[in-house]
């Protein structure tokens, strides 16, 4: 029996600019419910811009096109409203905020949970963030520590659609295993039914995260648009072998 698979996220002909600079150029993308997709592409191709636009950060101006979440257009919704719908992001370089601790934001994220304090302690242990739980958020943290802090926040929020910006870059094997286990926990919260997943979008360069996480589909971005979509393993193999130049050549000559 086949389920009608609705798209959790659909982007139609999206054009985005920031500070007068065009970032996304007629971009279209569809992610079905329960699927985790990867976003690949060279630096500057627009991967982070796409995620930030989906989240609703105001410096990214949508000049054309639609973003639909579960069939509903969300262009006019602000960051807070989109977060309450179930969209969340783990940024690569989140801001440092004086006087606001990681503990306080996670506590906020857990405010409707049945046992918030216990859950907070458990997540802190799982993500190994106890040493900096009570410091100014993101203050003086290494790249790896920021990733774990951001993942702890996502676990607390338990979003329907989670976006992650390079969770596997600059991470050693051990740290990658920890990050991988946290991400799996996020997308497959029910251990007894791992096939039933939440949805998400992950930016990766190396593809290392694929050692720990099953990805349903990969998209290569080029010049602010999706250039090519397909099987993640095949694409990463190709990129590893011939580099992005080959992808660009292929996309150009299609």
């Amino acid at each position: 029996m086949s389920q009608a698979t609705q798209n959790i996220l659909e982007i139609r002909d999206l054009c985005v600019e920031a500070g007068g600079k065009p970032l996304l150029d007629h971009l279209s993308l569809a992610i079905p419910e329960g699927e985790v997709h990867a976003l690949l592409g060279q630096n500057g191709s627009g991967k982070t811009s796409l995620m930030m636009t989906i989240m609703g950060f105001t410096n990214y101006h949508v000049t054309r096109g639609q973003i639909l979440f579960r069939g509903r257009e969300i262009n006019e919704l602000n960051v807070g409203e989109r977060a309450r719908l179930g969209i969340a992001i783990a940024q690569q370089r989140p801001p440092t905020i004086n006087g606001v601790t990681l503990r306080s934001v996670v506590r906020y994220a857990l405010k409707n949970a049945p046992n918030p304090e216990a859950k907070l302690e458990e997540l802190a242990q799982a993500a190994q963030v106890e040493p900096f739980l009570d410091r100014n958020i993101n203050d003086g943290l290494s790249g790896g520590e920021i990733k774990r802090a951001e993942l702890m926040q996502l676990l607390a929020l338990s979003p329907a659609f989670a976006m992650m910006d390079e969770p596997d870059s600059g991470v050693d094997i051990e740290a990658l295993a920890l990050v991988g286990s946290l991400i799996n926990r996020l997308f497959s919260p029910d251990e007894t039914r791992p096939v039933k997943r939440k949805a998400g979008l992950i930016i990766t360069h190396s593809g290392n995260i694929l050692q720990h996480l099953h990805i349903d589909k990969a998209h290569i971005m080029y010049n602010g648009a999706i250039g090519c979509s397909g099987n993640p393993s095949i694409m990463l193999e190709q990129i590893a072998k011939c580099g992005y130049e080959e992808c660009v050549r292929c996309m150009r000559t299609r």
Partner: protein, 408 residues
Amino acid sequence: MRALHENEVKNVKTIQNDTEKDVLSIAGYSDACEAAPAGLVPAEQIAKEDARELAGAGVLLDGGRSGTMVVRDHQPVCVEADSQAFEMLPLATALERYPEVREKYFFKAVPPDYDEVVRRCAAQETPLGFYIRVKAGKKVTLPCQVAMLMASENIAQIVHNIVILEDDSQLELVTGCLTRHSVNRGLHLAVGENYVGRNAKLVSTMVHSWGPEVTTYPRNGTVVAENGRFESNYVSLRPAKQVVSDPQTYLNGKGATAKYLTIVLSAPGSHISTQGTVHLNAEDTGAELMHRGVCTGGEMRQGGLLIGKARCKAHVDCAGMLLDPSGKGSIESVPGLKSYHPDARMSHEASIGKIAPEEVEYLMSFGMEEQEAISMLIRGFLGTDLVGLGKELDGQIAEIAEIAGHGE
């Protein structure tokens, strides 16, 4: 007993502020005030409406305090001290009973001719205010509290308070200075003198909550003896029309330390000037001054002057958040260092900023409304969580953040 202020404040510059004579003219204020009960009443008998107002300024009448004093308009209406460790009296009574007080402590940390405000206070026939003396070696566990309430419209309240901590004693004092919410205009002049003995520790938290046309000029002087410690927290909740405050602390004993924390809101129509000077007069003294100001449209001047006359270590940090885009509000941050000694290691920092939109949106990505995010940022800026103030203050600082966040 040995005078605690053996190095009495000397050579204090008096201030000629003749222009302030008009501002301070009591003729502009009424003598008429609400009929008060004859004599003193116990704390439970303070009227419920007043009790509620007092609670907003940190003065709680439902227990958990070692002593309570309430001054309403021109007289004390409640004086209760539940401890053998210290004595609390109206100052007038203490002066009558203990000639030593007048000899050794009365206008000694603040010279009687310091400026026009102090001269007005010294001219009072009968001083109004409190006298607290903690006995040697006694550490008072529960905080002691005093409320200076202006219940009647348009009066001038002039108070003088003296706190003495004998050697090895400790006290936490909460002073709430406020007008009833129905009161618009008033004048509050206050002289506060603190004497902190050897190894003694005084934590003094002042919460101010004023009507929009109130003018207040507190004049404070604190003398700290060897290894003594003075912590002064000042929170201004509902800003008055004008506040000019510049508490002086004299670290006269070796190893004496001081810490100031000032948290102020300046709303449209307010002129708030909160300075503070610490005189590091002895070896191994230390001071930390922290100012946090949020300005939604008034004028704000924040500063802290450290004067190092001996080997010492001190730091002053002024941070202001200007939330008013109209251009009428302003913040002036003036931290200052003055050194007379090569081993006086002093530093300062000042910054003025606004709420960063990226930070607001980052917090919103957790599901917060914009106002919630702004409030959280302001609370973080005011540093509640990091400083560990009492629960009462946490609520009040959260209120400042709410008010500032809504741009009222």
